[in-house]
Amino acid sequence: MEIVRAFDAIWAARWPILDGIANTLLISGLSILFGTALGVGVGLLLSYGGRIVRFFVRVYSDFLRGTPVFVLILACFYILSVIGLQLTAFQAGIFALMLFCSSHVGEIVRGALQAIPPGQTEAAKSIGLTFRTTFFSVLLPQALRQILPTWVNTATEIVKASTLLSIIGVVELLLSVQQVISRTYLSLELYFFAGFVFFLINFVIEKAGRIVERKIAIPT
């Protein structure tokens, strides 16, 4: 291994690589943000929607979860432009990741709401709370705590999935590293480096999730 050359190459390309990292974080952050917002809606419709609404949201969710993210990204990139919606690769990629994220968050939210014992709703009703208050004061706070760990998992999945945007030409971390590889042929060292940076990002997310989890845990 040409460790020294690899470090030199990485150091020489530090700005583009940092740009790539920033892009990866931006892509992941935006997708998770929008995806979560959309996903909470999906989860609510799955839990409380009428029969017909539920059916369509179910199809939406199943379709997105059954399609590989990579296919989703390619489909969004190409199909949207064919039907006249001119998104850049960057926008199309975020759009695809957002859809993917929303279907997963939707299921998580639905699962969490379902896991709350019905006695909670009944107790809330019995002290005269309306559905709105019941949802915001009783159900949501409990659901959120349950959602957090799986949601953090989804977040790391999205960070990983953001690499797939490299294939449609978005210069995120992986592609920025591949650009260095194409100049230096140091594939072993540089792929290792890329993997390590992704590991670090996700490791930090995981640990942060743990800390928050512990902070908001209900004392027993």
């Binding site: 990139f77 432009s81 064919v82 294939i167 030409g169 210069v171 592609l175 100049r183």
Partner: protein, 254 residues
Amino acid sequence: ADKLQDVLDRGYLIAGSGSTNAPWHFKDENNELVGFDIDMLRLIAKGLFDDPTKIEFVNQSGDARIPNLATDKVDVTCQFMTVTAGRAQQVEFTHPYYREGVGLMLMANGDYANHAELLAAGDDVTVSVLQNVYAEEMVHAALPEASVDQYESVDLMYQALNSGRSAAAATDQSSLSWFIAQNPDRYLDAGYGWNPQSYSCAVKPGDQRWLNFVNSVLHEAMTGVEFNTYAASFKKWFGAELSPPKIGFPVEFK
């Protein structure tokens, strides 16, 4: 629609290419997009605005080349695109600006100096080549008796050559020239090329004026006023001097 007018009004060219293939299109040490494809695109921008920097690059993967043209994401694509009849039904190709082929790379201080010597050595030579269904057949078209070692990646192939496990490496002439240009005293070109294919830029079909314009730029780069720019670029990426076109009767009509 008049693409040429649109581009002129816009004030810059939107050009599609990749970023991970030297010497065609890749990022140099300063993170600038450079390469032979990129130079061609800059020539077009220079033709349009008299300023080769009036250009916005869209980074695209290989299979995005045609869709991005068709959906007007780019005005023109120059991305080592092999001309085939099938593709010509989807896009309109410009004049070719490079003829790709397979070449043989040798060690400068090795046992063989050119294709003839390799041929003479018969089955004593081993040729390393990028793995591919047609690899063996392809090598045997040039060296019928040579034995063939297939490798999965380009750098491995070069390593085989370096370590003496093969006497020659068969690969695209462009990457071969690039490598030789990078390491001037270590390698040499056996001087034999085969398996030809043309590289052209491509535009969306149906706009003759735009196509003509791009064609004119490329044509004059190879034969006319911009020849020096083209030749300098050729020398830079492929390490070879071009002799200027003969003055007098136009070469292409001979």
